[in-house]
């Protein structure tokens, strides 16, 4: 039997209870804490979204005492969702899955890993503390363009904006540390046989994501530091009134924040690239092309930032327009890879697959409506309207969030050892899918008909009432969809079906150990001869040779079916 025996004694066992969770350096526990923390912020960000949608349900100022509070609500909604939910949620799922998927016992730097996590709740609390300060929380939008975010009496005089800056610097530092940790882990800690082109796509997307994080995050940190100096130490980087340049901030901000879109969507693409093959019983169609497309998106992602600034009159329009159009090509390659993975497969519609298909159908719209904004003249009409709000939510909610839930349903059995209920999962999906489209599709109409984003109120004769009411109804439907999910987690943790090592007939190494895995992850590893080592162990050479071009012809079964015994001690 060709397995690699490992030495469990080399790794300490878990300690008990709360003390363990507070002091752990175990990547799985840190990953789970990332997920829980991010989910709590998802709920907080969602409440702000509901407040915004409630205010916009009808013309007039009803819910908020004045427009300033409304501005706080949408600013904090976006900041929380981007920096405290999607980015760390995906980093958390990566934290849990990546070492398992490459057959490593932990991340390369376990203590730095713990530090990266603990900076997140700290940053989040600082951000929300803004509500207790005079003037309230940051209210200049998640982009916080100066001069509005500067300190002047007519801009953002209160300390809420400073707390926003400090929180984002903390969260950014957490991202950079995490990115370096992922890079070192992926390059240095792969199991024998796990060559780069046998790595699961999830690991590849985390690799490219980490490169983006490490290269781009220091840039926004510099913008934030400059803004902080402007506000507190008499600097004049961005304030034209004192000789600064307002557009400079936008360049530096988007140099990070556009690649950040890929930080938010590439790992979700990685998740569904794991889910679709497993539930189709087929390999990912075009594995290597998918990897090159991922790398291509990462590289092109650094040359499109100014498409957020077409209307400033301060950027070279044809270049950024061309680059933005071109980025559709590798993205389209991926879309076809996914669809052709389903094509002629044997699909089992478990909840992870349903959410992954939700990703496909919605991200497609988010890609197509992005092409309108890549066209500069059309962007002149659409920029800063609700069209953009629709577009970004089709990418980040229809794409990333559906991907996140696919990942949560997929790995929940590995994290906890128990299976989430399929029926509740499907109720969750249907409500969320319907609610999502009700909320965000009408925003296309609102945007093209002229409703600007970030307005607290609109005229009752503008013709926007019905679409806005529909969007608000959709928003509450999304909120309702979270309840069956929470109930599902609650009842499953108390009394769920035992998952076993490999409930989905998975392809990748995390399914070769117990659920949940022992502290050191693996007692033994199967041979790794392709990107689907467990498939090889289950089906032998059947996946290769004869039916396609990319398999390793010499792949041999490593573990006969039913023999992948990996009953490590469970926590």
């Amino acid at each position: 039997m060709a397995t690699h025996a490992l030495n469990p004694a080399a790794v300490p066992a878990y300690r008990g209870g709360l003390y363990e969770w507070l002091t752990t350096t175990d990547h799985k526990k840190i990953g789970i804490m990332y997920v829980i923390n991010s989910f709590l912020f998802f709920l907080i960000g969602g409440i702000f979204a509901l407040l915004v949608r409630t205010e916009l349900a009808a013309p007039g100022i009803q819910l908020f005492t004045n427009e300033h509070v409304y501005n706080e609500a949408f600013s904090i909604h976006a900041t929380v969702m981007i920096f405290l939910f999607i980015i760390p949620m995906l980093a958390g799922l990566g934290n849990f899955a990546v070492p398992l998927m490459i057959g490593a016992p932990d991340m390369a730097f376990p203590r730095i890993n713990a530090l990266s996590f603990w900076m997140l709740p700290l940053g989040g609390i600082l951000l929300l503390l803004g509500f207790l300060t005079p003037g309230g929380a940051a209210a200049a939008g998640w982009t916080s363009y100066p001069p509005l975010s500067e300190k002047g009496a007519l801009a953002s005089p209160g300390p809420g904006q400073d707390l926003w800056i400090v929180a984002l610097i903390l969260i950014g530092t957490s991202s950079i540390l995490g990115g370096i940790n992922f890079l070192v882990t992926i390059f240095k800690m792969r199991a024998p046989g796990m060559t780069l082109f046998r790595m699961p796509i999830m690991v590849w997307t985390m690799l490219v994501t980490s490169v983006l994080v490490v290269m781009a995050t220091p840039v926004i940190t510099s913008a934030l530091v400059m803004l902080f100096i402007d506000r507190n130490y008499g600097g004049s980087f961005f304030n034209p009134a004192t000789g600064g340049t307002a557009v400079l901030y936008q360049n530096v901000f988007w140099f990070y924040s556009h690649p950040a879109v890929y930080v938010m969507v590439l790992p979700a693409m990685g998740i569904i690239s794991e889910v679709l093959p497993v539930f189709s019983r087929k390999p990912l169609f075009g594995y290597k092309a998918f990897i090159f497309a991922t790398a291509g998106i990462g590289a092109l992602g650094f040359s499109v930032w100014a498409h957020h600034m077409f209307t400033t009159g301060a950027v070279f329009l044809p270049f950024f327009s061309l680059m933005t159009f071109l980025i559709a090509v590798p993205t389209g390659v991926k879309m076809f890879n996914w669809v052709f993975t389903l094509f002629r497969g044997q699909l089992t519609f478990s909840t992870p697959l349903i959410f992954a298909i939700g990703f496909l159908t919605m991200f497609l719209i988010g890609g197509i409506n992005g092409a309108f904004s890549a066209s500069v003249p059309i962007d002149f009409a659409l920029q800063d309207t609700y069209w953009v709000v629709a577009h970004l939510h089709y990418v980040l909610f229809g794409g990333s969030v559906f991907g996140v839930f696919a990942g949560l349903y997929y790995w929940f059995p590995k994290m906890t050892g128990r299976m989430l209920d399929e029926g509740l999962g499907k109720i969750h999906f249907v409500l969320m899918f319907v609610g999502f489209n009700l909320t965000f599709f009408p925003m296309h109409m609102l945007g093209i008909q002229g409703m600007p984003r970030r307005i607290a109120d609109y005229a009752s004769d503008a013709g926007w009432n019905d679409w806005n009411l529909l969007a608000t109804i959709g928003g509450f439907t999304i909120a309702a969809s979270i309840l069956p999910f929470l109930w599902n987690v609650f009842v499953t943790l108390r009394n769920g079906k035992i998952a076993g090592d490999d409930p989905w007939e998975g392809n990748t190494l995390e399914w070769a150990t117990s659920s949940p895995p022992p502290p050191y992850n693996f007692d033994r590893l199967p041979e790794i001869r392709s990107e689907r080592p467990l498939f090889d162990a289950r089906h032998g050479h059947l996946g290769h040779g004869g039916h396609g071009r990319r398999g390793d012809a010499d792949a041999v079964p490593a573990l006969a079916e039913g023999q992948h015994d990996s009953q490590g001690p469970t926590a």
Partner: protein, 369 residues
Amino acid sequence: MSTSPRKRPASEALVAGGVVVLLIAIIGLVFLSGAGSALYPPKAATIQAEEVSKLYNIVFAIAVAIFIAVEGLIVWSILRYRRRPDDVDLPPQTHGNNLVEALWTLIPTVIVLYLFAISWQTLNTVDYTSFANGQQPDIQIHVLAGQFQWQFEYLDSNGKHLATQTKPLGEGGGMAVPVGKKVYVTLSSGDVIHAWYVPRFLFKRDVIPGVTNHFEFTVDPTEAGQTFHGQCAELCGTGHNAMHFDVIAMTPADYDAWLAQLVVTANATQPPPPSGTPTLQLAAKNIQFEATDLTAPANSPFVIEFKNDDPATITHDVQIRDSSGAVLQTQDTIPGGSSANYQYTPLAAGTYTFFCSVHSNMTGTLTVK
């Protein structure tokens, strides 16, 4: 165990295909019924917007075609390739196909290059300015944006000041332009970033402090007499949602008369108040009145000596309303850095509210006794 080619009843393909056709039909019906027309831009009001509208139609047609093709393939796959109880053997383990992968890389590349090319062509129309091409525009207007009002300064052909339209919307304010004429607009802001946006022009441009942006448009001659709603599109603070303006399209003759009237009004000197008229002092700074309690004599005309200490782009006035909210006396707004002697007619004894018509947060109590 072996992989096997699929043996599927033909009826399943019929069902799957039928559902795909049905979905396409539903999408088609939505468009034909008119609900889909909300996805098209509003009627273009300028010759530039007309070009953007045509471009939009092309992009939209391609987008719908791609959407139906890919979404149809997804729906087909999930209906057709469900795993059935007798599916024990693996499906064919297809790892890829060089030909189709090359095709779905090359064809989208051609499509996006085409989209880029036609977008660039349209951009040349939208971004055209007379000055950049050695010509003279017909009309020059300098737009000043400030929290939270627009002012429109009319310039002569040499760029010299003629008159500034400072009135807020609803009190005769707005940006009048002649139809069929090349209108060259420069934009400047004195505080934060704003954006000049008129939905029916399918156009917006940021108004950035420290930078003067410019653009040119020509209103379609058939639109004479129309008013186009415009609004700030870049978050600019508390009153962002209330920063509206109108573009009023006039025949050239009407426009000339309107501008002449504006010049007369702007240059008119107000008759001084009769000597001995009670005078109150009031100043505004940082979008706040510096006093929130004023007292005036009953049944007597009075004057408020009003000083606007904000930046030049921020305008204020001092109007009076009664406790029911009915506006009793209006005044013209003045830009920052200037002052005015507002004259009011006699009021009966009582308590009134004075307020700035531009900034809803600026109010105070006027006690008349």
